[in-house]
Amino acid sequence: MDELLQFLIAGLKNGSIYALVALGFTIVFAATGAINFAQGEFFMLGGMLGVFFAGLGLPLPMAAVAAIAATAAIGAVFELLAVRPIKGGDPLRIIMVTIGGSVLLRQMALHLFGPDELPLDPFTEGPSLKLLGAAVERQTLWIWALTGLAVVALALLYRRTTFGRAMRATSIQRDAARLVGVNARAMVTASFALAAALGAVAGLAVAPLTQASFHVGAGMGVKGFAAAILGGLGSPVAAVGGGLLLGLLESLTAGYIDPLYKDAVALVVLLVVLFVRPQGLFGGSGRVKM
């Protein structure tokens, strides 16, 4: 029983991170109809830039905010330079460009910050807490808190602000949105910035546990993508559900079958979902519902 609880905690910890990355996939997909394969690199940049700003002597909260803002800015610039010039916004070309962009961002991080794994201090020092006999690292609580905060802020932005409604409107019907004065192109830029910020939050939150490194983006990209597909692309609720579920599946596989199979779970899940239920577990009609 204690063992199961421990697995569940680990699963929900990783699952929260996957959920944030999956949300990034979902947001860009809603705006462009394309998969942004650079999403994992935004996760990587969050951790690396967090270490970088902390290394400059900034206190951790400020370093975290700076890293999130810088990653969001990189996301926006990436869209402006590489995605916006694509004629007609063809999703297939956007996908190709994001694959190229992911390689570029990874190599740039390698040259700027070096090949080493870089440590980041835990957000709060101290021993693990006990929860019903299971140990919970303090950083895990931070991960849950930050994920919850990011999801709530995103929901409020989408549901309760004029800007968020304009983003949803653009993803539903681009021409009609332009007709009522919405700058549809700016909405695509904003979606990349927002997706990058969410990736950065995930990268920062997990860096004290795993260390930051230039090469962690690709693996996380696969996990986040699998989570988004598992839940059903197009809905934020589905992305969060898919992320948590993938985390739990991995953790239970590692605990009860073999830790070696942990990373294979995401790929198996991806294949099974695509074969059996391409719209995902929580995606209804396959239409975008932000």
Binding site: L157, R160, I172, Q173, V180, G181, V182, N183, L194
Partner: protein, 257 residues
């Protein structure tokens, strides 16, 4: 002083001149109708007025500013709103949310501001809701505010689209066949709505096939035939105009009435 001055607008598609040297004025606070047989160039002219199509020559001056060459978004921001023949609502949003999207046109608040100043963006949202409610009341459909657009009856969808156009804060509202597909009751409600919109100080231009509605609601009518303006004047005059009668009879009569 006219609010909208259309001068010598011409639009060709290949060998076809869809709109041929058309000029007219729209005076502030009036309802003006564009009518004509099918293929007369009404929708093409409409698109030219709102930046969706650039005319080959001519000018469209709204409140002293040239509209030709502007993007649809900038036309909206200048104070010209329009609806389409086939209603384009955001189906996954509620009627109220659809109307609130129109507000974006009047806002300079960008993404960064919305995110960094989420509390103030949320506070502003109360105004947006109140305004959406007010506009839906003006149109007379406030009871539909929380219904997803996909579930609205056709007549109500049309009216929601008008409310959404009004949310952009226009001085001029262009309606492309607002009565198409409406039953008699809905058409009567539409007439009342148009009066209320005009009485709220908004100038209206409609393209419409439904002749009864046009004759009832318009202050002035422009008649197009094969791209050319063949008549202009108040409804009573247009009804007796020999050129207009010939144009409609020549086509086998009006297909809607």
């Amino acid at each position: 002083m006219s609010l909208l001055q259309v001068r010598k607008v011409t639009k060709r598609f290949g060998g076809l001149t869809a709109v041929d040297d058309v000029s007219f004025d729209v005076f502030e606070g009036t309802i003006k109708a564009l009518i004509g047989p099918n293929g007369a160039g009404k929708s093409t002219l409409f698109n030219a007025l709102t930046g969706f199509d650039r005319p080959d020559s001519g000018s469209v001056v709204f409140a002293g500013a040239e509209l030709v060459g502007r993007r649809p978004r900038d036309t909206v921001r200048a104070g010209v709103a329009r609806t389409f023949q086939n209603t384009q609502l955001f189906d996954e949003l509620t009627a109220g949310e659809n109307v609130m999207v129109g507000r974006q046109a009047r806002q300079r608040r960008g993404f960064t501001a919305a995110l960094l100043r989420l509390p103030s963006a949320l506070a502003e949202d109360r105004d947006a809701r109140a305004e959406a409610g007010r506009l839906l009341r003006l149109i007379g459909i406030e009871e539909w505010v929380d219904v997803p657009a996909a579930d609205l009856p056709a007549g109500i969808r049309r009216l929601v689209e008008i409310a959404r156009a009004l949310a952009t804060g226009p001085r001029l509202l262009l309606l492309d066949e607002p009565a198409a597909g409406l039953n008699a009751t809905e058409s009567r409600e539409l007439v009342q709505t148009l009066y209320r919109v005009r009485d709220a100080g908004i100038t209206v231009v409609i393209v419409e096939h439904h002749m009864g509605l046009v004759m009832e609601v318009s202050d002035e009518i422009v008649v197009l035939d094969r791209g050319r303006k063949i008549a202009e004047g108040p409804p009573r005059m247009i009804q007796k105009d020999p050129a207009v009668i010939a144009a409609y009879l020549g086509e086998g009569g009006d297909d809607d009435d």
